[in-house]
Symmetry: C2
Subunit: 306 residues, 2 copies
């Protein structure tokens, strides 16, 4: 077992709900016992495990890649949507919608092998800093969530990420930062081409979207990748609602949680108006849907790790 | 650690190669050491972990389902390709090609929820018998492979299935029979639809193919689901060749194995002529590609489990 669990969670209803749920599903012989193989927990990443403001890291990562490409092809800086990325024009980027913006981001890595992409992602994560927080992106993860992942793992849970972010960018840090290995990371993905090149088998990234892991696609990808209905899910936007409802629709003990960003002082305060990933229906109907709302301001006594 | 490993493997080159490989990658400080997180092993299922003759179990399973559907719609028994399935007309089924035959099989389960499909699959596996071997399909698994999976697991490997078979049919028995949980099963899949029905969130199977997990799609799906290049792979047909070459193309110690069905007495003898899943290029070029050929007749002193 871990030490005192969830120390960065304030003593209150959210922390009690989490501790109680884990205690119930792990109590052998109890009415809510779940065997370890079925203790599946799924977490959104952007805005749930780490900061997604002013925009998701995926888009900043693509921005750096575009800058390199624009060095070779200067016409990019005058062409939309590339111009918007290069100029950090958040309004134009947001006008593309989440999927549209991410598709541009994903396409910037077309032609790279999986191994080359991983190297590029690791190099970026090791040096790029969040524009408002001034720290490495991997230091923008939420300490209370790290503790929750630890507590679940110590109690036999298998933690998965199910996020709209690019699957491979998340895999470049999820094991080290969250203790979640690549095979437990589900995200948006591009199609790849298999090719023997110089006698070596490689997977090359294509500019074509394979799966945009948002909204209904989240439970669909849970079915495809995990093959079991999770018993706990944690999200922070309407993009997570289908996943949360999928979890709540299973029989037995189930817990669905929604992080509400209501802490302008320590992080950001936003919900409905964040066009890239709004929170409206899930918040308005949380009670009716049986979703527990976690308030960053009220329920966390510390926000960032480190 | 497990007891005496690989007892159903005859003392010979194949067994020595396997034991030596596992010893090398687990020897801390040794030149070939691989940390546990990266000890990924991928296995084809049909013809590698269990019997695939006279045709893959997936097709027999669909046949039973078609029989039920034909009870409601008698015209099916006069319409191809359903007629061929209902009459066990292997020649016509084979003429569809592997993907064509599987697509018909998958489509028979359209409209079921994931949970309903699992119940149907478990009921079928608990009662249906292999037409030639006369035993339950789950008793058509190969004892030497069960021991290999055990030995790998005991040495910190993560075992995955990467097979052309339907992902959910395999998930219905892989945990119990192979010790491989659903999230480590990769296979062919249909698309699903997410829907709230009577206030309950469900995934419904569609008659549309999502991924046919054969040939180049195997390494592509390894990239998508696992996100790491395996260090060991085991197959038995040209459908596995891209996966085997993908594994061999990684740096460090790698092992690619090919099961050759050359044992007409205890199982079946076939390779080039098996239209649903031929073995030609992988066998002819095994040496050039660095693939180890395992002979069922020579290398296994026992074939079936139980």
């Amino acid at each position: 077992m871990d030490g005192a669990p969830l120390v960065s969670w304030t003593d209150g209803p959210a922390k009690r709900t989490l501790l109680d749920f884990v205690a119930r599903v792990t109590k052998e012989g109890g009415p809510d016992f779940v065997r370890p193989a079925e203790r599946i927990a799924t977490f959104d990443n952007d805005g749930t495990l780490w900061c997604e403001q002013p925009m998701q890291s995926q888009l900043f990562f693509a921005d750096d890649r575009l800058r390199a490409l624009a060095g070779k092809d200067p016409t990019l800086k005058d062409r939309q949507p590339y111009k918007a990325f290069l100029e950090h024009d958040l309004k134009t980027i947001a006008s593309l919608g989440k999927q549209g913006a991410f598709e541009v981001a994903f396409a910037t890595h077309a032609g790279l092998t999986e191994d080359e992409f991983m190297s590029a992602a690791r190099a970026w994560l090791a040096s790029a800093r969040h524009p408002k927080l001034g720290r490495l992106y991997t230091q923008c993860v939420y300490q209370p969530q790290i503790e929750l992942l630890d507590h679940l793992r110590a109690n036999g849970f298998k933690n998965f990420i199910v996020s709209g972010g690019g699957i491979d960018l998340m895999r470049a840090f999820a094991e080290e930062v969250y203790g979640i290995p690549p095979e437990r990371v589900i995200g948006s993905s591009v199609k790849t081409r298999f090719e023997m090149r110089d006698g070596r088998a490689e997977l090359f990234k294509l500019p074509e979207l394979g799966s945009f892991d948002d909204r209904d696609v989240k439970p669909q990808n849970i079915g495809l990748h995990i093959g079991r209905r999770p018993i706990l899910a944690f999200g922070n936007s309407d993009g997570d609602l289908s996943m949360l409802r999928y979890v709540k629709s299973g029989s037995g003990a189930r817990l669905a949680l929604l992080l509400h960003h209501d802490d302008a002082e320590r992080e950001f305060a936003y919900d409905r108006e964040f066009r890239l990933s709004p929170l409206v229906e899930a918040l308005d109907h949380a009670d009716a849907y049986g979703i527990e709302v976690v308030s960053m301001r009220r329920d966390w006594n510390k926000v960032f790790a480190g």
